[in-house]
């Protein structure tokens, strides 16, 4: 009996300025196989489908449980996490390519540090007085926890930014992930001390008004974060803040 195989087409690029080429791989099918396990297989036997020796694929990955946010890439045209992309659920050949909105490093590896820079710009933290023992935190009712926990689940994968038509060099849009974090920290009893700063950071060019309500972000989010709700809530607050700032002169 012939062994069942799986076919991959992977976009390779030796560096940011190198030409892109597609390579095909034919791998033995295994139960529970996903796109990362396939790439591990290729690393152990780096030979293309037509028998040509090649190099292991370069890609980011770490936890393989869809919680670290490392392995975002485009699989069959869709931005998603490679570890949870089960081969059995994918149409073949499985086409794998890097995210397109971020500087390419090599093969499937891109530089997504812009998200961490954005989080710094909006002061996405709770300014505690210090790490010494100051007793319990503020009371938080279960209903509030339930509202905030989903926002706090953002794994910084940047899928929401990849699929956003407005996230590009022309607009300099911060993207949905950062806006959702603004909502999270503005909701926190201590975090909200920076509420005005955060809203002002989202008020200018590249801020929240760049959002075109395409709603791609909420569909792409692997963690089902209510991104569009966050955008409309924060959008309203930004507007209110603008009016307040204008009235204050």
């Amino acid at each position: 009996m012939a062994t069942r195989t799986v076919t991959f087409e992977i976009k390779r690029q030796a560096g940011p300025d190198a030409p892109a080429v597609w390579e095909s791989f034919e791998l033995e099918w295994r139960p529970g196989m996903n796109v990362v396990s396939a790439m591990m297989e290729i690393a152990a036997n780096p030979v293309t489908a037509d028998g040509k020796p090649t190099t292991p694929i370069v890609y980011d990955s770490n936890c393989l449980e869809e919680i670290c946010g490392s392995c975002a890439m485009k699989i069959n045209g869709r931005a998603r996490m490679a570890c949870s992309a089960l081969v059995d659920n994918l149409e073949q050949p499985i086409r794998v390519e890097p995210l397109t909105k971020f500087p390419l490093v090599r093969d499937l590896q891109v530089d997504r540090s812009v998200l961490f820079e954005n989080l710094m710009r909006v002061k996405a933290w709770v300014p505690v007085d210090g790490t010494y023992d100051l007793g319990s935190g503020p009371r938080v009712y279960p209903q509030e926890q339930e509202a905030n926990y989903p926002l706090s689940n953002c794994i910084s994968c940047t899928c929401c930014m990849e699929v956003c038509p407005q996230f590009n060099e022309a607009t300099d849009f911060v993207g949905a992930a950062t806006i959702a974090q603004v909502k999270l920290f503005n909701n926190h009893p201590t975090g909200k001390v920076f509420k005005e700063d955060r809203l002002r950071a989202l008020a200018g060019d590249g801020g929240i008004q760049e959002c075109g309500y395409a709603q791609n972000c909420v569909e792409a989010c692997p963690k089902q974060i209510p991104l569009t709700n966050a955008i409309s809530d924060v959008g309203r607050d930004v507007l209110t803040q603008k009016v307040k700032d204008w009235l204050r002169g």
Binding site: P53, T55, P127
Partner: protein, 592 residues
Amino acid sequence: MAAPRIIVVGGGLAGLAAVIKIAEAGGTVDLFSIVPVKRSHSVCAQGGINAAKNLKGEGDTTAQHFDDTIYGGDFLANQTPVKGMCEQAPAIVDLLDRMGVPFNRTPEGLLDFRRFGGTLYHRTAFAGATTGQQLLYALDEQVRRYEAEGKVHKYEGWEFLSAIIDGKGIARGIVAMDLRTMELRAFAADAIILATGGIGAIFGKSTNSVVCTGSAQSAVFQQGVYYANGEFIQVHPTSIPGEDKLRLMSESARGEGGRVWVPRTVGDKRAVKAIPESERFYFLEEWYPTYGNLVPRDVATRAIHKVVYELGLGLDGQPMVYLDLTHIDRETLHHKLGGILEIYEKFVGVDPCVEPMKIFPGMHYTMGGLWVDVNQMTNISGIFAAGECEYQYHGANRLGANSLISCIYGGFQAGPNALRYAKSASAAEGDGGAAAEVARQAEINGKLLRNEGGENPFKLWRELGREMTEHATVIRYNKDLKATDQKIVELLDRFQHINLSDKSQWANTSFAFTRQLKNMLELSRTVVLGALLRDESRGAHYKPDFPERNDEKFLQTTKASFTGCDEGPRFEYEEVDTQYIKPRPRRYDAAK
């Protein structure tokens, strides 16, 4: 004197905790991490963090937490640091709460607590079933705040290769490699803190993340740091077997009422729902009536092994048992365990609220690690360690939800101690040995690129993983351990004949991996030979030929030191600090 320079290697909970303490005290830190720190392995911790806050009216105390931890660790942990950790735990959880961790709450708005293994108290604070993620993010946010203030400089995408140690044996900095340009560079420091996590990759597939190779620990071990209690490896009773890894299924599933069972009849082919209650074998509940499904991990893992391999009761003849949550209502499950149920459904394709999960033990945690003193400093002046990469908080077996607290507490100790040390450290002479160390690393890189032969590093790694998992995890026999060590020696020899298919010097991940592999091989010998020499059973270390704990001979910390000889590391033993709690027999079928 110039402001002291401190390097922290590793951006998980322990590393970030150390960074925060140093920055808060006015110091500056260079923080090195292979991955962006927010993607560190701490993110995978699920169930929760222990602190005896006694918010359930059970009379829980930090003394009780201390006793549970020492007892759970089969008396191998030095008691003074563990006592300190348990006493500080409530304040640490309060701090995390203040930092905005979205912990689950009671109706009154207080922290909710659940039960975990090895205790009879509700002592575990939790944020759904993604507590590690939430804690890591809280510390990541605080570090970003210090980064904005210029007190922390991150080197993400840099890999630690070695310490720079001067002629007097004092650490003077590190050599690291930029994982994009592959550039080697020396970074001077007055003190360095390693917080580089566990060694799961040595076992091939484990619940650990890809970066958990133990490469950094191994590098400093080969430079003279002792490696302690290496033979103590935790195999988590409940993981989801997979092609690329074993995904963790948190102990919190049992903490919230999950039950482990198999059909009583060998080869029962009926659908799970068709098996009546009376024909289900809830073996943990029957064998350990007091703790039931919440016995410590080593006990649960051995019980599952027995059921599968001795009684032949694995599901459908496969090495798997049921972990059943289907008797709990969907809303409660979603609220308290959402994250892990999602993982199961995504990767297995079955809804665990409807059908019991199929699970099996998987390598999970490294109790042993770099030897440190009570100040978290190793035997090389200026090298500190904190978190899973060091050995001192869990003895022979770690209790669930004690890892997060030990990481943060360890980091909180290491940070200020390193700063204090750095302030009084003598100045280095010349470059402190930096140029020589860079040259040594460049030579290793050069040799790897010039190597010719037919070996593939990923294949060697698989062989190592298979061997280690088979012979150096749940059940250990001396004959097999000896054979495994021989196999590692063979792999070390074959390592010399690795021919890299990718010799480029740009973002070469397989090159970086191959460097890690060498370190994995060296470190795995401390696990195997440490186990070989310990002829007793204690905590996670179990030898059927020596089934009892032997305090007279082995109530001792194992300390391995690197020799560079074919015979492997040299072993010596050190007395365990048992000044507070007298060792007593450990059993979980009755109350302590």
